[in-house]
């Protein structure tokens, strides 16, 4: 599996050099949103790697090599975790540097970075099976449709349950501590369901 991740890193590396610069621009000056966006954005890199694989028909080659289907599927998850983790670490390092040098730049909190890492694991768990089922091009359409339905559904539900609700600063610590438990738990549960599903979809494609 290490070799498969190495291949994806080689493929992505050329993009990553520009990517690092864009990440930095988005991260500083956009507060928490910038940090969260960067981490979740990086978690999407396995889709780019999958698109390259599809373009050069790497799957056909990999099927001839001593890789189990499990290695091929898991490598994309691990790549996503590494990219999101790497982006998180990078964000934390930038935050530390900004604080250490007292720079007048708006940055997010370390807690937001950790939550966004867990959220990106959730996004990967939900979307990777779609990529293995429908291929990247169609999978992306289904992914956007799913995101639209989930976000739209959540918004509609919120307006139905509490139409006049406004953010209550007093409730924020309780909400944050709830999120600190729920988001990692959701990431773990979704991943545990997602990997067998991806394996099944990958096997069905053969």
């Amino acid at each position: 599996m290490k070799a498969l991740i190495q291949k994806d890193v080689y493929v992505l590396w050329k993009q990553m050099r520009i990517f690092l610069f864009v990440m930095l621009v988005i991260m500083v000056g956009n507060g928490t949103f910038g940090s969260v966006f960067v981490v979740i954005w990086c978690a999407m890199l396995p889709y780019t790697a999958l698109a390259y694989d599809e373009r050069c028909k790497w799957d056909q080659m990999a099927a001839m090599m001593p890789y189990a289907p499990r290695d091929i599927v898991l490598s994309k998850y691990v790549l996503g975790w590494l990219c999101a983790g790497g982006a998180g670490a990078f964000t934390l390092a930038v935050q530390a540097a900004i604080r250490a040098f007292h720079l007048p730049l708006e940055i997010g909190s370390p807690f937001a970075v950790l939550m966004s890492f867990c959220a990106s694991v959730c996004v990967l768990a939900i979307t990777l099976p779609l990529m293995f089922r429908f291929s990247v091009e169609r999978g992306r359409m289904v992914m956007f449709l799913a995101i639209f339905l989930v976000c739209g559904g959540a918004g509609a539900l919120a307006s139905l349950v509490a139409p006049d609700s406004k953010p209550v600063p007093g409730n924020l610590p309780a909400l944050l501590s709830m999120a600190a438990v729920l988001v990692p738990a959701a990431a773990a549960v979704l991943t545990a369901v997602s990997i067998p599903l991806s394996l099944r979809f990958y096997a069905a494609r053969q």
């Binding site: 070799a3 080689y10 493929v11 694989d53 028909k57 790497w58 053969q206």
Partner: protein
């Protein structure tokens, strides 16, 4: 031990099907898989590498059932070259070598570097700038650099110029000097197969029409050239295929043991045997 054993394989894709395919490649031999475009050569290779599951039948490579989990390990001993080098275009030969080193336990970096030099392949040029011939040479270099016991080559010599093709065929020949080394090679270039192979297997529309020792095949058949009347006098089962020539003449592929010994026959080429067999099959 047999290097490859396919037994009564069926695989259907709707409009096309591999039907009752049984093929054995003994260890230490080279088998050429011939067939027209869409005959099922690449599908056969995918089936024997476990990349496709057959609807029925069994496949074993180097003594291991390809549907068993143990086959993943056996793939270490199989070098595969597909009809294209399916490496991502942004990679270069150096990076491909590093990926292969992480993939195969028996990877020999020095052997890989030797092949890169021998084939005159640049180490740092991305594959997108490689010609088709260069990509194929790289795939061959990668397949040979992890000490395989079996080489599975799908149109591996296509796209190579005649000089390099000859060199590559010599490398394949060198490879089979080891007693337990075998090759299954599919190609459109029948002359290459005739030069290289011990066995010839002919696939036509998903069915294996024959799999014979090349020398036996060449001894078994002869080419009859004569008049239509002479051809009509031959036993129908002796004629594997025939074609009309100018001025009422006939050229036919005949089974030597079913025609009179006095009849003058030309020695056929493998290509002629294949072409006549297809014609005979289409008549049926």
């Amino acid at each position: 031990m047999n290097a490859i054993e396919l037994s009564h394989i069926h695989k259907s894709f709707g409009g096309f099907a591999i039907q009752d395919l049984s093929l054995t490649v003994p260890s230490g031999t080279i088998c050429g898989l011939v067939g027209e475009n869409g005959a099922g050569k690449s599908t056969t290779i995918r089936l024997l590498m476990g990349a496709l599951r057959p609807d029925s039948g069994a496949a074993a490579v180097l003594g291991t059932d390809v549907s068993s989990p143990a086959f993943t390990r056996v793939k270490e001993d199989v070098g595969v070259v597909l009809d294209e080098a399916y490496f991502p275009e942004t990679l270069n030969a150096l990076q491909a070598g590093k990926i292969m080193a992480g993939t195969y336990r028996q990877w020999e970096q020095s052997a890989y570097e030797d092949y890169l030099n021998r084939f005159d392949l640049p180490e740092k040029k991305p594959f997108k700038d490689f010609s088709r011939g260069m990509k194929m040479k790289l795939a061959i270099a990668a397949a040979l650099s992890h000490r395989p016991k079996l080489l599975v080559l799908d149109e591996a010599t296509s796209g190579l110029d005649p000089i390099v093709r000859d060199e590559v065929l010599e490398i394949f020949n060198e490879f089979t000097r080891e007693e337990d080394h075998s090759i299954l090679i599919s190609s459109h270039i029948v002359s290459d197969l005739e030069k290289l192979c011990d066995y010839i297997a002919f696939l036509h529309r998903g069915r294996l029409l024959f799999c014979e020792e090349k020398d036996r095949l060449l001894e078994e058949y002869g080419v009859f050239v004569g008049t239509a009347e002479q051809a009509e006098s031959l036993l129908p089962e002796a004629v594997a295929g025939r074609e009309a020539k100018d001025y009422g003449g006939v050229r036919a592929l005949v089974r030597r043991n079913l025609v009179p010994e006095t009849l003058a026959l030309e020695r056929p080429t493998v290509e002629e045997i294949i072409l006549f067999t297809v014609k005979g099959e289409e008549k049926r």
